[in-house]
Every structure is written in structure tokens, then in C-alpha cells.
């Protein structure tokens, strides 16, 4: 059964997603991040659909569980496309975006096939376990990919603040989800861990809303401001 906390987290995420889409219609410069906007739109649709399925079939129903895991896998794949779009933005000035897109698509397809193959070998029957582990694998790969994008971003002399915030927000999301997934595997009885994943899920659209509405496309952050601790 969902409590007030779950509802508040869901509402915060959904409102932030709607805000990002509304802001994109107002500020046309955001259309450069088409893949990212597509992902946010998919997230918003998913929130509505999952709410409807939840209301109709209940939290513990097979319908909801199947929908949750499979939609999560599709959304994670869409998020990869969004990261690829960010990568293309970083390389735009160096005219390598075409090659990079092709390379990233190959990596993405390989990762998806690899994650699916490994998971199928481990769980040939249980479809929900398949989706759950598939998502875990995708989160981890997403975390590594985002970190590589981050390294690419730092290799530039004047990183754009918007890109810095977007890439780090995605990295935190993927890293947090990977950690939450690993913790749930290690300590399945710990119920408090079930709150981690939705909270991370709500933080990402909130962060996107902040970045798009408050940080201008032209803002640059000096490298020394980022490289302070390690």
C-alpha cells in the first residue's frame, strides 16, 4: 500500500516533469536537448500510466509489477539516448557528433544485448526478476557511461554549466539507482531501502527543472571551481 510519502515523492517528480515540458514550449533554446525532452515526456506519460494501473490493479498485482519493471527498462534505454544527446552536444564544435552517435549506438546495443543475455542465463523463467536485473545492469552501465561523459566534459577548457549540471545529475541518478539496487540485493529484508529508488527518480526531474529554468545556456564554469576536492 502506498503512503503519503510515496504520493508526495510521485507528485514532486511528476510536477517537475510537467514543468520541464512547459518550460521547453516557452524557451525554444531547450529544443537542442530533444532526446532529453523526449525522455522527460516519456517519464511524464509513465507516471500517469503507472498511476492508472496502480489504481486499477493495486500495488501488489502482477500487472503493476510487470508494468513497473518493463517500463523502467524502456525508460532507462531512453535515458541512454538522452546521454548520447548530451555527448553529441559536447562534441558538436569538434564536428564529431555523427561518428560519436554511431559509436554510442553500437555501445548501447551491445550493452543492452549483453545485459539481456546475462540476465536470461541467470533467470530463464521469472520474467520480473529478468526485468529487475536487466534494469540493475543498465543502471550500472549508465553510471559508467555518464562518468565517461563527465571525463569528456572536463577535458574541455570551458565546460558549459548547464551541461555540467545535467551530466552530474544523470551520474548521481544512475549511481544512486545502482547503489540502491545493490543494497536491495544484499539486504532484501530492509524495507527502508525501497524508498531510495523513487526518491532518486524524483530528484532527477527536479534537478532538470532547476537547470533549465535557472541556468542560462551561455553560463560557463571554470575548471578550477569544479576540481577542488579530488
Amino acid at each position: 500500500m502506498l503512503g503519503p510519502f510515496d504520493f508526495v515523492v510521485w507528485l514532486a517528480g511528476f510536477l517537475a516533469e510537467v514543468f520541464v515540458l512547459a518550460w521547453a514550449t516557452h524557451d525554444r533554446t531547450l529544443w537542442r536537448h530533444r532526446a532529453l525532452l523526449l525522455y522527460v515526456a516519456a517519464l511524464a506519460i509513465d507516471e500517469i500510466l503507472s498511476f492508472v494501473i496502480l489504481r486499477r490493479y493495486g500495488f501488489t498485482s502482477n500487472e503493476y509489477i510487470y508494468y513497473y519493471y518493463y517500463s523502467d527498462a524502456v525508460l532507462t534505454l531512453l535515458m541512454f539516448l538522452a546521454i548520447m544527446g548530451l555527448c553529441a552536444r559536447i562534441f558538436r564544435e569538434q564536428e564529431r557528433s555523427g561518428r560519436l552517435r554511431a559509436l554510442t549506438l553500437i555501445i548501447l546495443a551491445t550493452v543492452a544485448l549483453y545485459a539481456a543475455a546475462i540476465t536470461l542465463v541467470k533467470h530463464q523463467v521469472l520474467a520480473t526478476h529478468f526485468a529487475g536485473e536487466f534494469c540493475g545492469g543498465l543502471y550500472f552501465t549508465g553510471m559508467v557511461m555518464t562518468y565517461l561523459v563527465w571525463v569528456l566534459l572536463l577535458s574541455r577548457r570551458d565546460p558549459r554549466l548547464r551541461l555540467v549540471l545535467l551530466v552530474s545529475a544523470f551520474g548521481i541518478y544512475f549511481g544512486g539507482q545502482s547503489a540502491a539496487s545493490a543494497l536491495q540485493s544484499l539486504f532484501p529484508a530492509l524495507t527502508a531501502l525501497h524508498y531510495l529508488s523513487p526518491m532518486m527518480g524524483a530528484c532527477l526531474p527536479v534537478s532538470l527543472a532547476y537547470t533549465f529554468s535557472w541556468v542560462s545556456e551561455e553560463a560557463r564554469i571554470p575548471l578550477e571551481q569544479l576540481a577542488g576536492v579530488w
Binding site: M143, V164, S168, G171, S178, A179, S181, I221
Partner: protein, 138 residues
């Protein structure tokens, strides 16, 4: 074993990017230029003991009339971060009694952030007061 490895790696990378994200946020928030009303305060923050000036700026914020409702949530988070830095500084060993330059720079950024809030509040109050004076004269 596999899950433990994922957990360790994911925790390290999340913490690393979390710190970077926070720094970028703090930096973007402190990029506003101060007006004449608070410029001297900004110079004082940049001075030799500026890292300890957050408390003074917060005291000034409290005495400045506030038009908007609600608390300064951003300032609460920045205040907590400043306190965390203060505690870290006390715990870290100081060779020759020198201050850690990174912590000092971070605490200055916190004080500068509060100074921007103060500056915005003064500007809003002045504009409101100017509007009131114009209304009563007309």
C-alpha cells in the same frame, strides 16, 4: 561479491559527482554581482577572515525587512554546509596553524551566497518603499 563491488563503485561515483554537482550549484548561485548597498560586504568576505563571515551576513539578513513569506530554505542548506565545513576544519590537523585553503574558499562562497540573498532583499525592499512613496505623493 558482485553486488558488493557494484555498491562500492556506485557509492564512490555518486559521492564524487554529488560533490561536483553541489560545487557547480553553489558557484552558479554566487555568480551574481552585488549592488552598491552590499559591495563593501562582498569585499569584506573576500578579505583575510572572510570565511567566518556567514554568521554576520545572516545577522544582517535577520534585521533587514522581509517582504516575502516563508523561510530562506536555500540559506538553511548553505548554513548547514558551512557548519559541516567548520566542523571538518576543526577535525583536520593544521600544520603550523594554517587554514585549509579549500575549506576557506568554500566558506567564503557560502557567505557570498548569503550576501546575494541580502542584496536581493535590500533591492526588493527599496523598490517597494520607493513605490509606496510614489503612491502616497500621487
Amino acid at each position: 561479491m558482485h553486488e558488493l563491488l557494484v555498491l562500492v563503485l556506485a557509492s564512490i561515483l555518486t559521492l564524487y559527482l554529488g560533490i561536483r554537482y553541489w560545487r557547480a550549484l553553489l558557484w552558479s548561485a554566487s555568480q551574481h554581482k552585488l549592488s552598491d548597498a552590499t559591495r563593501e560586504l562582498g569585499e569584506w568576505i573576500d578579505g583575510p577572515h572572510g570565511e567566518q563571515s556567514l554568521a554576520v551576513v545572516c545577522a544582517l539578513l535577520r534585521v533587514c525587512p522581509k517582504l516575502e513569506r516563508g523561510g530562506d530554505r536555500k540559506l538553511i542548506i548553505v548554513g548547514l554546509y558551512d557548519r559541516l565545513l567548520g566542523v571538518t576544519e576543526k577535525l583536520l590537523p593544521k600544520p603550523g596553524g594554517e587554514r585549509n585553503p579549500w575549506i576557506a574558499a568554500e566558506r567564503r562562497a557560502c557567505a557570498y551566497f548569503a550576501a546575494i540573498l541580502l542584496d536581493q532583499r535590500i533591492t526588493r525592499t527599496s523598490q517597494w518603499y520607493a513605490g509606496q512613496v510614489t503612491d502616497s505623493s500621487t
